[in-house]
Amino acid sequence: MAEKKYEGLLELLEGFQKTCSSLTAGIREFSQGTKASRDEMKSRSFLMRSFAQKDFESNTGMSLDEWVEFSERLLSRFENISAAVQRIDEVKSDPSRIPFALNEFRDASSSFLERYNLIIEALDRFAIYMLDMPKKTESIPKPFRGFMSEEDRRRMVEEAPKAGEGIKKLMTELKTAKEQITDLYRFP
């Protein structure tokens, strides 16, 4: 990479490839988690399910079906971004081909950058909902608790906060990705 205008590009690419690899794994895990929650919700009794679905959608902003769809879209988006970064990496020794590869990268990542704030706000709502679940479980009046199974209660107290921590970690990685993409945008 002889041209001065691409100084620093190699280091940025290397860092961003690592972020993409970790991020796609994180989004995949998130997607699998939301699918498992959706299936678990379907197995609940009719009465509890209708209330749980309403409570979930009000707090997280979307239904579980929508969260599954969103996670799959986000995963697909980052797979496209990773492929575009890979193409820049492949042409880095030929400066004449870099602008075209960078344009492809911009095309792949623009919708993520445009929606970044909305994505973070939505994920934050989801994370807070999961982190607050043990407190919420305790505040459910006893007559209503009678219609929840012991397994439901265990999940709400033990597993939900772990999922919340996972979403927070995903948000941190998305923030890193956003900063690195913005850095890559400065190259012509």
């Binding site: 959608e57 707090n59 909305l118 505040s139 007559p143 219609f147």
Partner: protein, 132 residues
């Protein structure tokens, strides 16, 4: 019975099977310091299905149902009282049971709304997220 109706009816019956699980009839026990309380409710259900074909050979089918929950009472098991003496069955008067049956879903809904205090995202925001 056409395939569409058979498939719709199968799905509907699966749904009803989940609804009529014993957990709905006997609530999970509420364990307290000196006693355990088991709520007892009756689940009522009316279901129907049908299908037909028009002149052009196109047909339609469907099924539906409506369910209701009627609290009947509670079973109280006293921890320190052995034998039958330690088991109390407290039946609600039918009018109270009916009133509670109407109240319970509304109370749960109000409670959940109060707990939530938030609203789902708007359609435009959802659209943006689902097309990222």
């Amino acid at each position: 019975m056409g395939e569409d109706l058979a498939s719709a009816l199968k799905g509907f019956l699966e749904e009803m099977k989940a609804m009529l699980s014993p957990k709905i009839v006997f609530g999970e026990p509420i364990v307290m310091e000196d006693k355990t309380i088991i709520p007892v409710v009756r689940v009522g259900l009316v279901a129907g299905s049908g299908g037909g074909k028009g002149k052009e050979g196109e047909g339609g089918s469907g099924c539906g149902g409506v369910g209701g929950i009627n609290p009947l009472g509670i079973i109280v098991v006293l921890k320190d009282v052995p034998g039958f003496e330690g088991i109390k069955i407290m039946a609600f008067p039918s009018a109270l049971g009916q009133a509670l049956g109407e109240l319970l879903p509304k109370a749960m809904e109000t409670f959940m709304t109060m707990m939530a205090g938030k609203k789902p995202l708007g359609e435009e925001e959802k659209e943006k997220l689902l097309t990222v």
